[in-house]
């Protein structure tokens, strides 16, 4: 039987690749330490399969066909087509079709209707955190794309339910498999909008407190009330909510918070202590 062995969250952003050193040596050292700790914990949990929940930044989908949730069920995924992103991973990234299809079937049995893709491209949202965490060899990846880019977006409540569903799917998978989940994106930031570059540190800090509390109604209420005003990129906190649901809302631990305006992002990094 499969088991959940790790749950993590990390921000991403193109400027982490294009302007990595632009935050200055001290702050760069600080965020590097945080990525290192995340990478250490990730390595420690030794996953056989990694579920990565991330947005699609107009790489796979367009407004002619825009799924709310898409599971990558292919044998392999393609590395980022973004020409500015050079990551130390092969361009063909292994998937885990057996587990991915089990997840899809589990979803359909419980009245969720995800879109499926047998060939996804994994953009910077998927790959920058894994690169910066120092993951030398990627485990097979099951990507889950949540639409956080073009409204209407899935509700926070639904994202939490997706997380719970993922946990059920892991625990009902018949083979021994160590499964981890990584949510990427968030927290406050604004891209291509009049407040581009603005961070909302108060929102970010309150988010962390809400995740720590384990109080789901309070978290949902806070996110519904405050997220839109924290910038369009803050919508990516939905991915954290998925991971929170997978972790049964227990054991959230903030590993680092780096509100770096040079990267336009209130960067947050977390892991869930699954034994809590």
């Amino acid at each position: 039987m499969a088991e959940l062995v790790g749950a993590f969250a990390a921000s991403h952003g193109p400027l982490m690749a294009r302007n990595w050193e632009g935050v200055g040596p001290q702050r760069l050292a600080s965020v590097t330490r945080t990525f290192g700790e995340l990478g250490r914990r990730f390595a420690e949990c030794r996953p056989d399969v990694l579920i990565v929940v991330s947005p699609d930044h107009w790489v796979n989908f367009f407004i002619d066909n825009l799924p709310s949730v898409c599971i990558g069920v292919g044998e392999a995924h393609e590395g980022s087509p973004e020409p500015w992103l050079k990551v130390p991973f092969d361009n063909a990234i292994a998937g885990h079709p057996a587990f991915a299809l089990h997840l899809a079937e589990s979803a359909l049995q419980r009245d969720f209707e995800p879109s499926l893709s047998h060939h996804l491209k994994l953009d910077h949202g998927f790959l920058i955190p894994l690169w910066k965490m120092g993951v030398a060899k990627l485990p097979p990846i099951v990507p889950i794309i949540v639409n956080i880019i073009e409204p209407p977006l899935p509700s926070f409540k639904r994202c939490y339910a997706w997380g719970q569903l993922i946990r059920q799917a892991i625990e009902s998978y018949p083979e021994n498999l160590r499964v981890a989940i990584l949510a990427t994106g968030g927290l406050s930031h604004s891209i291509g909008e009049p407040d581009m570059g603005r961070l909302d540190e108060e929102y970010d800090q309150q988010c962390f407190e809400q995740f720590k509390s384990g109080d789901i109604p309070a978290l949902m209420s806070f996110l519904e009330r405050r997220t839109e005003a924290a910038g369009n990129g803050a919508a990516e906190v939905r991915n954290w909510v998925v991971a929170h649901g997978t972790a049964h809302a227990h054991g959230f631990e903030l590993l680092g918070y780096h509100p770096y305006q040079e990267w336009y992002i209130g960067c947050g990094f977390a892991s869930w202590n699954l034994r809590a």
Partner: protein, 90 residues
């Protein structure tokens, strides 16, 4: 409300070959997209205020990046819309 063909143009610009062709011969590329005349005018004038409500903000930013506008130029123009955020969100 999104403008489909304007959005499609911006989306297609993510392919470097398309962006290069657009840079070399904008008129020829634009003839492939049935973009409304008033939208075309906004495009030709790099009118961020007029274009913003019609496309996704990520694509908007990308288009100006791909057409060689500096980040400072884009920030200046998009931030000028502050106070009118609803229009930028469509």
């Amino acid at each position: 409300m999104r403008d489909y063909w304007l959005s499609k143009l911006f989306f297609d610009m993510q392919t470097p070959a398309n962006a290069a062709e657009y840079a070399a011969d904008r008129e020829t590329v634009l003839r492939r997209y049935p973009i409304k005349p008033e939208v075309l005018k906004s495009l030709q004038e790099d009118d961020v205020a007029a274009l913003a409500p019609k496309v996704n903000p990520y694509l908007l930013r990308f288009y100006f990046f791909a057409t060689g506008k500096s980040e400072a130029w884009f920030l200046e123009h998009i931030r000028a819309l502050a106070g009118n955020k609803e229009s930028a969100n469509g």
